[in-house]
Symmetry: C3
Amino acid sequence: MDKRNIQLDDNGQLRHFLTIEGLKRQLLVDILDAAESFTSVTEQTVKKVPLLRGKTIVNLFFESSTRTRTTFELAAKRLSADVLNININASATTKGETLLDTQRNLEAMQCDMFVVRHAVSGAAHFIARHAAPHVSVINAGDGSHAHPTQAMLDMFTIRHHKGEFHKLRVAIVGDILHSRVARSQIHALSTLGVEEIRVIGPKTLIPVEAHTLGVHVHHDLRTGLRDIDVIITLRLQHERMSGAFLPSEHEYFQLYGLTEARLELAKPDAIIMHPGPINRGVEIESAVADGPRSVILNQVAHGTAVRMAIMAKAMQRLPNLSARELH
Amino acid sequence: MDKRNIQLDDNGQLRHFLTIEGLKRQLLVDILDAAESFTSVTEQTVKKVPLLRGKTIVNLFFESSTRTRTTFELAAKRLSADVLNININASATTKGETLLDTQRNLEAMQCDMFVVRHAVSGAAHFIARHAAPHVSVINAGDGSHAHPTQAMLDMFTIRHHKGEFHKLRVAIVGDILHSRVARSQIHALSTLGVEEIRVIGPKTLIPVEAHTLGVHVHHDLRTGLRDIDVIITLRLQHERMSGAFLPSEHEYFQLYGLTEARLELAKPDAIIMHPGPINRGVEIESAVADGPRSVILNQVAHGTAVRMAIMAKAMQRLPNLSARELH
Amino acid sequence: MDKRNIQLDDNGQLRHFLTIEGLKRQLLVDILDAAESFTSVTEQTVKKVPLLRGKTIVNLFFESSTRTRTTFELAAKRLSADVLNININASATTKGETLLDTQRNLEAMQCDMFVVRHAVSGAAHFIARHAAPHVSVINAGDGSHAHPTQAMLDMFTIRHHKGEFHKLRVAIVGDILHSRVARSQIHALSTLGVEEIRVIGPKTLIPVEAHTLGVHVHHDLRTGLRDIDVIITLRLQHERMSGAFLPSEHEYFQLYGLTEARLELAKPDAIIMHPGPINRGVEIESAVADGPRSVILNQVAHGTAVRMAIMAKAMQRLPNLSARELH
């Protein structure tokens, strides 16, 4: 089945959110606009809207991640949904039940949405392909494939701080090869029409087919950051640091660590982003992470509103959204 | 104390739900009827009723089971109760506190209901016997003794698909000896007055006192399935497969595995049930589990409504139930 | 920064609840009075008030404790708040994120309150010192330093059963040296103006600076209990029993275990308290723990109302509290 189509229902409306790839520009803009309206919700005293009241959202985590689980749980609760947290390592799969049987069971219980995190690329697609008609699937990260809600909160942050996409040069620095975040960001930036996307990193951490994605590859941070408006630093996974991919953590910082001195190479008003959690002194020094151009915590703050927007849209509860329902 | 009486309060109303044994036919029918009314709740857009709003329900699991915990958590949330999940392995009992002290503490916190899962037969009875006056106890499976809510959802499924109980012949296939599910099913089927109950399995897995339960024992699947309306296949526990009880998983399937060919022996409109999770290719082949006569996922679907009915009835919130409260 | 001031905002109102030390008598009395009004809430059919509706409370537990986590989760839910349980051992700190980064992230998600449990003394203060302007911090136990909500529920229990504080003689028996509970109780009793505070225990378990806290030190239980109105027995931690601090569990019970015979030494109407969970036959015998003068389960029962009061007060939601909002 075509990955581009599985995310949309027969009327062309969003039903699953699995990957940015193949989604239209207008859909991404609609999500960003809806998230904008939810921003006020997360700031008001009673941070709840009744859009998904009576709906059951299952955090189906095959890979444990307190951080990601928390952000989705928060977004779901602020939409007034009921949330079930299922860590599938500790559940029936260990009793020999297949993934599909687990899914069928949860669907029989009238669960409405699965937020899926899995170490294997394509897991969320698999579940979406087999989903019952009333069920929506959100990809919360699958292997090194995609992490589309993270990419959308990054787009929200970029638009919030830098305005129109078409004038922007964006650089993604680090381990592009293994990063589901980078892959989703590249698709989103490309769909939203930025002027230029650069990926910067050592040869061992840049996919060979990178140029087919429409990005410019740089192995030297100094040339890579020139005239850049937005710098996205990726987290360097610990497991890469001592492997064949990198000589050492120290050397990585020497070559690609984001320091105040190196920021000089970018535009004076460039913003610094990071999907978190950050390794201070590895891919970014504290002076930059905590400095005036860092919008790292803004990304987190926007995450809730963006996930609310995606969840509500996939459940097709946004068309009815009015100022009155929100307050 | 008499196990038959402990489940009822002084007015003869249900207070605890520990075992089917000793409950009157009318009470079981009342639960099935109440569950029928809740079925519509789980299908409507906002799947919630306010019957247990402000009540605190504790999932007190001494044996971890994501699947069972999830079904009760869902039922409780759809009744608008607050749910506390307590995995007692990780809690104060490891600090040397007695079970009774743990119970007394939760009762002092004004918790209203304990849903108890325990590896030891009789654990839920023990807690019920010591329960504070305002507290109800639901047995979510105790050792090899009883799993009464599972039996009730099975009864609901049978009535839903086959109508009146008194005309039905029901066969339970598999490891009857160790199955709390089978024990509760036999009591429920017997109380509801089916025409015949058969248990089918190898001699090592049928309790010697089986005939005292009013069932017919068959060791041959072919004679056992003749003229049967309902076939309930039990899950074969992995720990039995390599023990002294069974020669091998493969041989078990040869003798007792439910295949399409063997279904021919039963009535043409016989339904196939299984408490889940299923072992495909062990006690049932996929063609049967996913076939047109399988109602296995219907059982799961009915589970929420049946547990809602039992919880609401034990909390004596059903007498006030009206169509208006439900919607 | 001064520990006495960090708990109050610029208007002198409670914002964080970290330690009893430095809080004014009137503030403690206000909390006890508010808790009194919440007592009726926990006893009514619908045990919820909407005071913290739409607020997000995070149980940030760096040390696992089902018991304490449960009490705070219950209190938060009865105030209608949303609750996130985060066991920080299993979360991003294992990915190398600093405590401060974890905190900043949760604050960015617009969480409103952190309930912090940590094995290191001062951890809750650290978090409070770095808290965003909209965030309140409650100390749920830090190392051997403080456990102020436990002390407040103890004060509530004492006032409930014995009335005015200024006439009372209170004895705390056991391992004072390592007890955060004892430390907080001594500050509370002293602030509320009891006539006399005694600590009773072996020399190895009484801090050398005990007299500077305004308490009388007794090593002999018989002289220590004379004319006492309130006896608080502390839990003897298992790790102390076999260490250099104590010859043996048996000998401890011989010298300091609370028995019916020894109760004779206190006033005839003295009450017996214990923070739980109790070690029967170690620091207290069952006849006393379950006897007519024991108020141990009353302490637990009051715990919910007292924690509701503290949480609501720290969120500054109590000034608006009226009978109407409560019901």
